[in-house]
């Protein structure tokens, strides 16, 4: 994306060529993302916990003849350097200079939300305030005197309801107007006066920074320098001289504190690009950062080209010491106090709100976060999500899978063909269609699961889940916040690892990263569904009213649960050994419960689902082709090929002779109804007519010979050899070389297990039977259980390892992650299989 803001130009001839970069900033849960969706008409993502929108998003919009580029900054409470979100947002505002900043404010929680606004005012960016969720505020009886509040802050206020797209046009009009005359907008805005104790220090530091700012000398007049200081009425005036004369925009300021091109002293100002805008240098804000002893203050100053940073630091340290000695409290606390004081003053004049007792959210929370009920409710909620996913998605997935089988059957080469064309058709049918098709078939399930997670997020329940689990997590030495990356990990481990950034403590972060792969990601779902569907009967265990509780759904739930239990156990061990130390405290906002907006949920679901599909379309395709090649070469030696040809010729010669198992040992396996057929009744309907007819027809005997040849070919190939090499290790867990081969594929990406199984079996049989039937014929439920354990625990995918290495800063941790998980998986699978065999 192009984050660099182009100069906003109102061309004199009025041609419709304006492009305005709009930044959206606001607290987490302020409805910022739904507003972004409403403005851009999609391509957004609504979340209810901190850390979801780590990446900033960009979307196009249009208002009249103006093209807008809307940048969705991560949700932040402040502009300090506590979290990566804050740093991302701050750096964008400072160094990429959007033409207008829309500050999204949740007006049902005005005072806390305006804290960020005070920082934006001090920073000095052209602001428009979107008072979002004004419907919620109105319902609860909040009345805001917009005109007065707008005047007090010096920025336009527009009421919006992002989830319903209300107020968007007015908001964009206001944004375009502000972007059209940035200097005037900045001149109107008021900054916080930090009071008699702090304000002199802030001003001194501001002047000191301005003095050392090299850019200042690029053509800023002394009057302009003055303008960085607050005007006598306490508000800061930040006016600039970009472009041409904007006419008068005095707003009652004193003449010496104004700067625009008309003052004639800023000689180069008219030629300066906006990035060197002499009056948007954030000097006053940097002064507050220096006073706060912000870790990044020095770096920011240096990046802006301000010299003698160390001298400034020394000066700031002196001021800090002075303030702390005289006031008895650190400067950053006093600054925060003054900001809240400013907000409180403004709101007490302009906002009327009923003295609400316990809100609906509080009443729900009393039950949902209850000491004893909290965890059972959490478990029940997750169970409902999985049950819904399985019930609605299962039949759809089966239809898609059957469709894929049909498609592959259409292009699958006829028996005995050869040559380059044959090779291509094999690639198409056995590689691409089988491989990608198998993944695509699970899209309904993935989408439904993502939808469930989106609903939980948007309703506000996810934060409660983190709260409820904090007790458990703190016993493990982590806090509830660590559960958020893990919850994301249910979607995909990779963003989960990225989301560990919200955890401040490195020990907690590394622990969370190492156990994250135990959260069953979306990619593992297709594998679970395949193995559960193939090897376990879809029996109804209990009938809960109209909802049947199936064995498969229960087992799926159990797998997810087992992952959580193992994650807890592993972090307990890690925290007691490698990462010993005190736990970090939990501090987290609980957003009020809200009814999730359908569009938000759909967009959310679509974005994540699309990521999965893209992966299936690109990475998986590449892997599938590589695996196809690995199972195609090296080919069988000519004498074996000749032997198979001879047997085919024999069948042709003896047309009509019944099948003889002694001559064609593969016949019963390839053709007869599979032993596990009844386990998959609904599934086999599509195939029943094609497969289960007389076992002795010449066609079926030819197919059986094909099966044997393909199996021989596979065993001869690179993949087969590697799988065979692994067999001695896998055998104690009840797994053969085929499973080992699929596991090799799963290392690339978990869902490849499914497509690899598809390829392995497509090779083993030319018939149009589904993968599930073939699996049911080959493996017992006990073997299935061992496989499920391996898929859950063993070997995180390559992407996870790469991200873990990058985020932890060392391949050492990625290697540790792979080793301990694989060892754990093997031990558990072997244990379950051996004990199970002994019992059964």
């Amino acid at each position: 994306m192009s984050g660099v803001s182009e100069m906003t130009q109102k061309t004199d001839d009025g041609s419709p060529r304006r492009r305005v970069v709009v930044a959206l900033i606001g607290n987490p849960n302020s409805g910022k993302t739904s507003l972004f969706n409403a403005i851009t008409g999609g391509r957004g993502h609504v979340g209810n916990w901190p850390g979801v929108t780590v990446e900033r998003k960009v979307g196009p919009a249009r208002r009249g003849d103006v093209r807008l580029e809307v940048v969705d900054l991560p949700g932040t409470y402040s502009l300090t350097t506590f979290s990566p979100e804050e740093i991302v947002a701050r750096n964008f505002l400072m160094f990429e200079r959007p033409d207008v900043v829309i500050n999204v404010v949740d007006c049902s929680n005005l005072e806390r939300n305006l804290y960020l606004t005070t920082q934006l005012l001090t920073l000095g960016v052209p602001l428009v305030l979107a008072f979002n969720m004004s419907d919620v505020a109105e319902t609860s009886g909040v009345r805001i005197d917009d005109a007065t509040l707008s005047a007090l802050l010096g920025a336009p206020i527009v009421h919006t309801v992002g989830s319903r797209g209300r107020g968007i046009e007015e908001l964009l009009d206001a944004a375009v107007a502000v972007a059209g005359d940035i200097p005037a907008a900045l001149a109107r805005q008021h900054s916080v006066d930090f009071g008699v104790e702090l304000e002199p220090h802030v001003r001194e530091l501001t002047a000191a920074i301005a003095q050392r700012d090299a850019q200042r000398d690029a053509g800023v007049s002394p009057a302009c320098r003055e303008s960085i200081l607050p005007s006598p009425d306490g508000g800061v005036d930040l006016t600039s001289s970009t472009g041409k004369a904007h006419g008068t925009h005095n707003a009652g300021g004193t003449p010496p504190s104004r700067c625009d091109a008309t003052c004639g002293q800023c000689k180069h100002a008219a030629n300066l690009p906006i990035t060197a805008d002499p009056c948007r240098r954030h000097h006053r804000w940097l002064a507050t950062k220096l006073l706060e002893d912000d870790a990044d203050a020095g770096e920011l100053l240096a990046r802006l080209g301000v010299g003698e940073v160390d001298a400034l630091r020394t000066e700031a340290a002196k001021a800090r010491t002075h303030v702390e000695r005289t006031m008895g409290r650190p400067a950053e606390m006093l600054l925060a106090d003054r900001r809240y004081g400013f907000i409180h003053g403004a709101c007490s004049q302009t906002v009327v709100r009923p003295d609400a007792g316990a809100t609906v959210s509080d009443r729900i929370d009393r039950i949902v976060t209850h000491r004893w009920l909290g965890v059972p409710i959490f478990a029940a909620v997750m169970f409902v999500v999985f049950q819904m996913t399985f019930m609605l998605g299962g039949p759809l997935a089966q239809k898609l899978d059957a469709g894929k089988g049909w498609l592959a059957g259409q292009v699958r080469p006829a028996v005995g063909d050869s040559g380059a064309w044959e090779l291509f058709r094999s690639l198409l049918a056995d590689g691409i269609i089988e491989g990608v098709g198998a993944v695509v078939a699970f899209v309904p399930l993935i989408f439904l699961l993502y939808m469930g997670i989106a609903i939980l997020e948007d309703s506000g329940y996810m934060a409660r889940a983190a709260y409820v689990l904090d007790r458990t997590m703190s016993r493990v030495g982590l806090h509830g916040k660590s559960f958020i990356p893990m919850l994301i990990g249910f979607g995909c481990t990779v963003p989960g690892v990225l989301a560990t950034r919200i955890i401040e403590s490195r020990r907690d972060r590394l622990t969370t990263m190492l156990v994250l792969p135990l959260m069953s990601c979306g990619a593992r779902l297709p594998v679970y569904v395949l193995l559960l569907g193939a090897l376990f009967p879809n029996r109804t265990l209990v009938q809960l009213g109209p909802v049947p509780v199936g064995l498969q759904a229960t087992m799926l739930f159990g797998l997810y649960g087992l992952g959580i239990v193992l994650a807890v156990a592993c972090s307990l061990v890690l925290r007691a050994t490698v990462f010993r130390g005190p736990a970090t405290p939990l501090v987290m906002e609980l957003p009020p419960y809200r009814r999730p907006a359908a569009t938000g949920v759909v967009i959310h679901m679509w974005e994540r689902g699309w990521e999965y599909l893209k992966k299936a379309g690109t990475v998986i395709l590449g892997i599938v082709v590589i695996l196809w090649a690995a199972k195609t070469w090296p080919g069988l030696p000519p004498e074996q090929l000749a032997a198979f040809e001879e047997r085919r010729a024999a069948v042709h010669r003896s047309t009509g002779v019944p099948c003889d198992a002694g001559i064609l040992p593969a016949c019963p396996e390839g053709v007869s109804p599979s032993a596990g057929g009844e386990a998959d009744v609904t599934y086999s309907i599509n195939q029943a007519h094609g497969t289960h007819n007389a076992g002795g027809t010449p066609a079926s005997r030819l197919a059986a010979i094909d099966a044997q040849q393909h199996r021989a070919q596979l065993e001869h190939s690179a993949v087969g050899r590697l799988g065979r090499a692994m067999e001695p290790v896998m055998a104690p867990a009840g797994m053969d070389w085929k499973v080992a081969t699929a596991m090799l594929g799963a290392f690339a990406a978990k869902e490849v297990f499914v497509s690899q199984m598809g390829v392995v079996y497509a090779v083993g049989d030319g018939e149009r039977t589904t993968l599930r039937q073939k699996l049911a014929a080959d493996y017992t439920p006990l073997q299935g259980l061992a496989m499920l354990l391996m898929v859950l625990i063993a070997s995180p995918c390559v992407a996870t390892l790469v991200v873990t290495a990058r985020e932890s800063g060392s391949w050492k941790w990625a290697a540790a992650q792979w080793l301990y998980l694989t060892a754990l998986a093997w031990l558990l699978a072997v244990g379950v299989y051996q004990v199970g065999r002994w019992i059964v």
Binding site: Y77, R112, Y115, R366, R371, H479, L586, L590
Partner: protein, 89 residues
């Protein structure tokens, strides 16, 4: 047992009472926060700072607390609650 002691001795009678000792539904005023600077600053930014009126929405024995500050609801771990000195409103 901690659970009974907390109930036997009604919270809010002492001067040096911490948030961790407060009961559900109790209205309080924050008088000081004894935590490291970073946590203090973070809490202040979220509205938890000396002089502010808060209310305990719910808390688990030994578990996290839900605190109402104006219209916000803040979840705090026990250690953090122990570092917040309060007096009854």
């Amino acid at each position: 047992m901690r659970l009974f002691r907390a109930k036997d001795k009604p919270a809010g009678d002492g001067v040096g009472m911490t948030l961790a000792q407060a009961l559900t539904g109790q209205a309080l005023v924050v008088s000081a926060i004894r935590d490291d600077r970073r946590v203090q600053h973070r809490l202040a930014e979220l509205g938890m700072r000396p002089g502010v009126r808060i209310k305990v929405v719910s808390h688990d024995m030994g578990g996290p607390f839900i605190i109402a500050i104006g219209d916000s609801r803040l979840a705090l771990g026990r250690e953090t609650a122990e570092s917040i000195v309060v007096c009854p409103a």
